[in-house]
């Protein structure tokens, strides 16, 4: 009964989406907005599917973007978790480092692009550095927060059991930080996608970002919109995958 009604709601919301697409189609058809900027939806989808896997297709660009994003994100997550845990565990490290981290955190990550160019040139490593730098902060700060916010009662349990410091960190502080770290990694992944596109724009590296930029310069609106849609697909898939992994790993949490 509940399932059936949920399904009806889903159908309804697909219907609304179809209406929106139809509205987009009408606007594009009417010529109110120049075809140079606005491709009708069918053309945009055709631009995606035409020779998707071929040499000129969007498939290889999409794959390049996904790979680059994942490399940067994984790198950032590993460094962020390790450093964040150390800072979170050590009150002394927090005193010395936290103010600097607070200063660097609100710095728009893209502002680091010119500096990265100065060091790495317009290269793949420059793009990777920018992605990793940007997605590093959310993970780092989340790990610091998670490791340093252990329920004091749990530390008493550890003391009553005569657990060593190492054991306490490994069995209490780190698992306690897991939900925070995951939240940070989720934000980090979104940031990574944004910076991948930025890096591809600036660095001229093959990928969806460059495709969009090229298409806009050649006034190929369908291909441009196709690229944007694919970026949305990447973002959405990442969000779905990570929230499922999260739900599995954090199944001990009270159902929310």
């Amino acid at each position: 009964m509940k399932r059936a009604s949920n399904f009806l709601w889903f159908l309804g919301s697909v219907g609304v989406f179809a209406l929106l697409l139809f509205g987009w189609h009408l606007i594009a058809q009417s010529g109110m907005v120049s075809r140079v900027y606005l491709a009708p939806p069918d053309k945009a989808f055709a631009a995606i599917t035409n020779g998707f896997t071929g040499p000129n297709g969007l498939g290889s660009s999409m794959w390049a973007t996904v790979q680059r994003m994942l490399y940067g994100w994984v790198l950032a997550s590993m460094v962020g978790i390790v450093l964040g845990s150390i800072i979170g565990i050590s009150a002394i490290a927090r005193i010395y480092l936290q103010p600097m981290l607070e200063f660097l955190r609100p710095l728009p990550a893209s502002a680091i692009v010119p500096l990265a160019i100065a060091f790495f040139g317009l290269s793949e490593s420059m793009v990777l550095f920018v992605i990793a730098f940007g997605s590093f902060w959310p993970v780092l700060l989340a790990a610091v927060q998670g490791v340093s916010s252990v329920e004091p009662r749990l530390y008493e349990v550890a003391r009553a059991l005569n657990m060593s410091r190492r054991e306490t960190i490994w069995k209490i502080a780190l698992p306690n930080a897991l939900p925070d770290i995951f939240a940070g990694m989720r934000i980090g992944l979104a940031v990574a996608l944004v910076l991948t596109v930025v890096g591809e724009f600036v660095g001229g590296q093959n990928g969806l970002g460059l495709e969009i930029l090229r298409a806009s310069r050649q006034f190929q609106a369908p291909r441009m919109f196709g690229g944007v849609i694919l970026l949305g697909v990447i973002g959405y898939s990442c969000a779905v995958i990570i929230s499922n992994v999260e739900r599995y790993l954090m199944r001990w949490r009270a159902s929310r």
């Binding site: 329920e151 009662r153 008493e156 349990v157 009553a160 059991l161 069995k171």
Partner: protein, 261 residues
């Protein structure tokens, strides 16, 4: 239980407070505490809030050091937590590891005791069985009721194989029915294992029902007002014990004491 307590009464007391003062942050919390607890004895402590009940418990646990005097465990001064002394906290929701299921929460104590992995599974089943959680080994704390979570905490404490069990208002947050059930189960367990219990509560009837002796504390600074021996036969019974004239007499005495503060 009373038999074993008599048999070992000649040896050093399990726990001994010897002229203990405690100040925390310049504030005098406990003053001149003298108390001997026999092996296997069930001691209940009551008193108005802020009288230092929990602080006494934390002194035995080794979380605090006495400012003057000494707290002794089996004839040796307590100078830090020891696995031989287990604690059951009131706030079970905070004292269990939420990311470990019931079996793994018990395992935490065994890991800390360096029990080899191969032996753990059977022991875990045994301890969970003792507290009636054998069928819930795979459940996470978030999937358990308050009573079950507190049973789990008791199982973890028992897994330490402690000689002393410290219980800090362990049933205070539970509903009346669950509380009575757990009281009886708790009595059964410690009687079978011969464990010494230091039980802090704010519930007068609970203190009489469970205890061999009831210690009353008065506040500012916390000191022992009186110690009442509970002359009620064991095993205790939720109906007959609570109707016993001795029970009613003690209840009256303790009630008057609490009212006086």
């Amino acid at each position: 239980m009373s038999q074993s307590a008599v048999a070992t009464s000649q040896a050093a007391p399990e726990i001994c407070f010897d002229g203990v003062d405690l100040s925390l942050g310049g504030l005098e919390i406990l003053k001149g505490i003298d108390l001997e607890i026999r092996r296997g004895e069930f001691i209940c402590v009551i008193g108005p809030s802020g009288c230092g009940k929990t602080t006494m418990l934390r002194l035995i646990a080794g979380f605090h050091r006495a400012t003057a005097g000494a707290v002794m465990h089996e004839g040796r001064a307590v100078n830090g937590p020891s696995p031989d002394i287990a604690i059951v906290f009131q706030d079970y929701g905070k004292a269990l590891l939420p990311w470990r299921n019931a079996a793994d929460n018990v395992a935490l104590a065994l890991e800390a005791m360096r029990v080899p992995k191969s032996q753990r599974a059977d022991m875990i089943t045994g301890f969970l069985g003792k507290v009636g959680l054998a069928d819930h080994a795979q459940k996470f704390p978030s999937q358990m009721s308050g009573g079950m979570q507190q049973r789990l905490q008791i199982a973890r404490a028992l897994a330490q194989n402690p000689s002393v069990l410290l219980m800090d208002e362990p049933f205070g947050a539970l509903d009346a029915m669950t509380r009575q059930t757990l009281q009886d189960e708790c009595l059964n367990l410690v009687e079978n294992m011969g464990t010494t219990v230091f039980f802090v509560t704010h519930d007068i009837e609970e203190a009489i029902y469970l205890g061999d002796r009831v210690v009353t504390l008065s506040p500012n600074p916390g000191r022992i007002a009186d110690i009442h021996t509970v002359n009620l036969p064991r095993p205790r019974n939720q109906l007959t014990t609570r109707e016993d004239p001795e029970f009613l007499r003690l209840r009256r005495v303790l009630f008057d004491f609490i009212q006086g503060h």
